[in-house]
């Protein structure tokens, strides 16, 4: 204020985006700015009074067309700790079950003057389509098998926290890559920040041409575990599989499940990550999920700080109707 000028060394980027739709369209500087902002927000949740007035008077709507506990709660607490007002709408109890279109639902919410819309939908691209048609800011909380940007951001944040860096690390993403929006967002984020990404799973669960995203493809679990600094396990998504793509969960566990015996070949300080919810005994053995290398609960804690950062940054971007500022 009084002293302007050459302040704040070390911050290259400024945030000017109205929406957070995916990591594909973000630059490495954008990613670093979010992670740095999240780092500052972490302290707020350690205070006796876990609240700051930064978004006072802003209204956030959680619009979830798919079930969610973790992400919805995380966004809700993030908004509350920033002093925003938040409303939760689940598809089951809304007019969508009466046949209203998504766009009509959202236009009605807009007529109520909401500022930010956090949306999850089973169809890829819904947040992007809405963002073009409404004046509120849109945050993608998962769209089909496309992107889940805040999950990938909290994964990046957790890796940065535990390993001190992201560039140069070897990260293996293991499991149902084809149906995973978490995998896709993580591939964008990790490669932009200089990590080497390997994907691993049965051929039926690996999308064709995935290597065009700049990742290495392996089919044997031991190859994915060897040399990896981070193992990111994905959930076998029963609800997203129309056809039977793996013979049985038992067979999947035997071939791709990570247990202590498999980890014997891993690097000594390997990180075990999982976006949750974990199918214990399928993709991840309980002793590994609860073991010393698991950072699964740190991911959840960090998710709150990351979502506070995203809400804060997106809320500050200029709106369409007041673009002049």
């Amino acid at each position: 204020m009084a002293t302007t000028g050459a302040l704040e060394q070390g911050t290259a980027a400024q945030w000017t985006r109205r929406h957070l739709l995916g990591l594909r369209e973000l630059s490495a500087d954008d990613l670093r700015l979010i992670l740095q902002t999240a780092e500052s927000f972490r302290e707020v949740s350690l205070r006796p009074i876990k609240k700051v007035p930064a978004l006072r008077g802003k209204t956030v709507v959680n619009l979830f067309f798919e079930p969610s506990t973790r992400t919805r709660t995380s966004f809700e607490l993030a908004a509350k700790r920033l002093s925003a007002d938040i409303v939760n709408i689940a598809a089951a109890g809304s007019s969508l079950s009466k046949g209203e279109t998504v766009l009509d639902t959202v236009r009605n919410l807009e007529a109520l003057k909401v500022d930010l819309l956090v949306i999850r939908h089973a169809a890829a691209g819904v947040p992007h389509a809405l963002a073009k048609r409404i004046s509120a800011s849109v945050i993608n909380a998962g769209d089909g098998a496309h992107e889940h940007p805040t999950q990938a951001l909290l994964d990046l944040f957790t890796i940065q926290e535990k390993k001190g860096r992201i560039a140069g690390l070897k990260v293996s993403i293991i499991g149902d890559i084809a149906h995973s929006r978490v995998a896709r967002s993580n591939i964008w984020g990790l490669t932009k920040l200089g990590a080497q990404v390997t994907v691993c799973g049965p051929p039926s669960l690996l999308p064709r041409h995935i290597e065009q995203l700049g990742v290495r493809v392996v089919y044997r679990l031991d190859e994915a575990i060897r040399d990896a600094d981070v193992l990111m396990l994905l959930r076998i998504q029963h609800e997203r599989q129309e056809a039977v793509l793996v013979p049985s969960l038992r067979e999947y566990r035997l071939t791709y499940g990570v247990d202590q015996a498999r980890l014997a070949h891993a690097k000594p300080e390997v990180l075990i990550m999982h976006p949750g919810p974990v199918n214990r005994g399928v993709e991840l053995d309980s002793r590994v999920a609860d073991g010393p290398y698991s950072v699964i609960l740190d991911q959840v804690t960090n998710g709150l700080a990351v979502r506070m950062a995203v809400l804060y940054l997106v809320a500050g971007a200029p709106k369409l109707d007041e673009a002049e500022g």
Partner: protein, 195 residues
């Protein structure tokens, strides 16, 4: 978005001046609080935090007892957040002690409108309930918009609202001085060095 050109109008403190001002403030804090017991310094990012660190060293040199020091980031408490786009960068608050029942001395470089201090008071309240909150600034330049005053001021400088006061500290600025700068277009500033 090009910054209007400013030029230096007057140097009001040099390195020695800053050092002497801080030493005097350190003595005043000790005198006012009758020692260091229960006293904690909380600097407002960025330059207030550096000044708090220096004040703590000065107090320790006088009283031979350490003083607690914390750093406050007031970005989230600003009253112009929704008006300032894009959002200012948030940095961490680092106060490694409980402020409740402490005599907290807020430290900032320049006292101007008072809005930064208003934000800092709100932020401190969320962290606990200090016994007293006092305010130390290196420079008081006037033009208050809120009922706020400094308990300890290094120097009072009469300024015009259109001028700006630059505090440069060697830790971040490769210089150690306080200068007044006037906008180049300002006809009143056409005589450099004058008032």
């Amino acid at each position: 978005m090009t910054e209007p050109a400013y030029h230096e109008k007057a140097k009001v403190l040099d390195a020695d001046g800053i050092r002497r001002a801080l030493t005097r403030i350190a003595h005043e804090i000790l005198e006012h609080n009758k020692g260091t017991a229960g006293v904690a310094l909380v600097g407002i990012r960025t330059r207030g935090a550096l000044l708090a660190q220096r004040l703590a060293q000065a107090i320790e040199a006088i009283d031979q007892r350490p003083v607690q020091v914390g750093i406050l980031d007031i970005t989230l408490y600003r009253d112009d957040v929704s008006r300032a786009t894009p959002q200012p960068v948030v940095r961490a608050t680092e106060i490694p002690f409980d402020v409740t029942d402490q005599d907290v001395v807020l430290v900032d470089d320049v006292l101007f409108t008072g809005r930064t201090i208003r934000a800092a008071l709100n932020a401190l309240n969320d962290l606990g309930r200090p016994r007293t909150i006092q305010l130390a600034v290196l420079v008081d330049r006037g033009h208050r918009e809120l009922p706020i005053r400094a308990d300890y001021a290094g120097k009072n400088i009469p300024t015009s609202r259109r001028e700006r006061v630059q505090v440069r500290l060697r830790e971040v600025d490769e210089a150690e001085e306080v200068v007044i700068e006037a906008p180049a277009a300002d006809p009143a500033a056409s005589t450099p060095g004058g008032r």
